[in-house]
Symmetry: D2
Subunit: 216 residues, 4 copies
């Protein structure tokens, strides 16, 4: 069993609340009101800026050139690929990248992003990656589930991106990296703290969906 | 005009929402339900653990021995004095310090504390102190206002602590330090970013009061 | 006058000791013993790993997407271009990249790299970039001087890299960025501390050349 | 066997070079020239400022209130006790605390202090404490050895401080904390990296003694 599976199994209830959140289900069925998706995408754009910073922090905190390279690849993927989809969607609504960068951050956006970054600063590379896992790996899981049942809808390109081989590979690499980091940075005595970090991060993802479902 | 007054003036609306929040007014008049105060105190205890860490971060980020000493004094004040009041209140409700340390953190507690700590990590000592200011200096302002109008109520010892000369001196020193740090670390070109930090931190304080008023 | 020129003018003596160091002159004239260059290149490889981490730290500490992108470009340039030259040289001596990564770090390598990284952690993006400046911009200056007087020698490809338009553009961008960061992060009151950082970083570069000239 | 004993055993050669350094032996026998001790004390004062910052960083990086309290006690001990001895010595030579704070830092002072702080920033509380261990625990060992053989000399008060029960208790607590942190943060897979950190930190201590023995 991978570390990720273990973390997920030990936090099943909150994990399900995240993966099967009402926002996700409406997005999959296509009934999600556009203003909710619009709100989500704006906040997610701000979110990704801080996630890019989290990958940069991972590169800084790396002890080997291999880990620096992997984190840099993740950083570039966010800046070049993932944000590209947002920019493309937003352009179709008449929003520029600068408009999005200037949006006020919702409390929920602040909560999750700063939790991750602060966990990374206070702890080590493993703490940082465990805090990032619900996002990186969870989105791959969501993408997979929605793609399997999806009848093409307005949100198909979002679903396709996270269901794509490219993104699935990123998530698979993240799962492997967690195991590798646990092996050379941690031991059984650290599991409880990591599981708490995972649960808190997942809870903050749930709150992020909830915020997206209820635009102010 | 001090930097703090300028920040407050430029963010009057959110500052008033914080200082005159319903939670504060009910606390002052004594009508606040005990379970709200109880909930607040538990979350504030977790909050203070991270605020102690923020002062420790300030000591680390100091460039002079004088700044190290001032931050260490702040750190000791939180650990020894401010948390003491919480422990005393909680003991009267049959809660131990360990019980409080084990409480689940509310999203709102995470949001403000990690925002402050992350701002401090990403920026310098001035960024950190501007993020801390709504808490440190705002509580002194609230203590003063409530003490002026207070007819002794169940929350009198809370009000007295923040209205005390000792706490008022801490807030006055924080105001001076902001001016000193601005003088030797910043310039006019930096004001806009600092004002945004101040506004975000104050908004997160408002959300913290709101959470306290609505225990789950 | 740019901030960089001002820093250089106010620290002329140590700056000259760095730019005109015996190691640099022997490298330019080609009389530098190969074992010195070999030793230098090995330590510089370790140095670059930490410099890549410094650019990652800069990306983390950025407040705008534009700054994140600029730092990421710098990070990629080190990993992909600058280290490539080292790998190429070392391959010609029968050294692999893994051999180099496993070399023991000289005290002088530790001193400069950790000084820069720690300055960046304790301070803000400007502190970090001022600590990086003697390296980034100084190497461009050295490359220029040596290229102007160079009769092709064994070290020509090293000189060419730092004299190349590509590297000169990196240095020119760094000079502009220092001015921009000073404008929006600092003011005159901060200059003295920045000048001290610049002087210390340059002194540590001098010690690095000296170490390279005297392999153990 | 404690983690500290294991680290020491696996790095015996460099550990002996540190504990039995010529500077230490001359200090013990009293033949150390006063200008060497004077030089040492000035640099050690700067060193302690950064060590105070390292304890502050440890408080920030703590996950429990107990660890925050222990780090804060260490921070206060440096500021209030250990630096007090330096101030007292220096006063007898006509040097003020401000004079010492303004001394230029030697490369060797920069190297060790920034190595420790950067290791702490990049890694977690255990990485930080392993980097601090040669200093904290090594000084207790040196104090013990010198006190056992000491015929009262000019440096007796220095020796007495590090041989005192108070300082020995600090070192004993540090040894226990290493074991506790290893238990709940690490595992066998991490030992090699920790041992390398320990070896590098000890090497930097050797260089610090050497610098003290050879005042510029």
């Amino acid at each position: 069993m991978t570390l990720f599976e273990r973390l997920k199994n030990d936090n099943q209830s909150i994990w399900s609340a995240y993966i099967q959140h009402e926002f996700v289900q409406q997005l999959g069925s296509g009934v999600l009101p556009e203003r909710c998706f619009h709100h989500y995408l704006g906040q997610d754009y701000l979110f990704l800026i801080h996630f890019a910073r989290a990958y940069a922090l991972a590169a800084y905190k790396s002890e080997t050139l291999a880990d620096i390279r992997q984190a840099t690849a993740g950083l570039s993927a966010i800046i070049d690929l993932e944000m590209g989809l947002h920019v493309q969607f937003c352009a179709s609504w008449g929003l520029t990248e600068a408009d999005m960068e200037a949006l006020p951050e919702a409390d929920e956006t602040i909560a999750y992003t700063r939790f991750v970054l602060e966990k990374g600063n206070a702890g080590d590379l493993l703490d940082l990656h465990v805090a990032l896992a619900p996002c990186i790996i969870g989105y791959a899981e969501i993408g997979n589930i929605l793609a399997a049942s999806n009848n093409a809808n307005a949100y198909a390109s979002w679903i396709e991106m996270y269901a794509s081989d490219e993104y699935q590979d990123v998530a698979a690499a993240a799962i492997l990296q967690l195991d590798r980091l646990f092996e050379y940075r941690a031991g059984e005595g650290r599991y409880a703290v990591l599981s708490k970090t995972f649960a808190q991060a997942t809870q903050l993802e749930v709150s992020f969906w909830q915020m997206a479902l209820n635009p102010a």
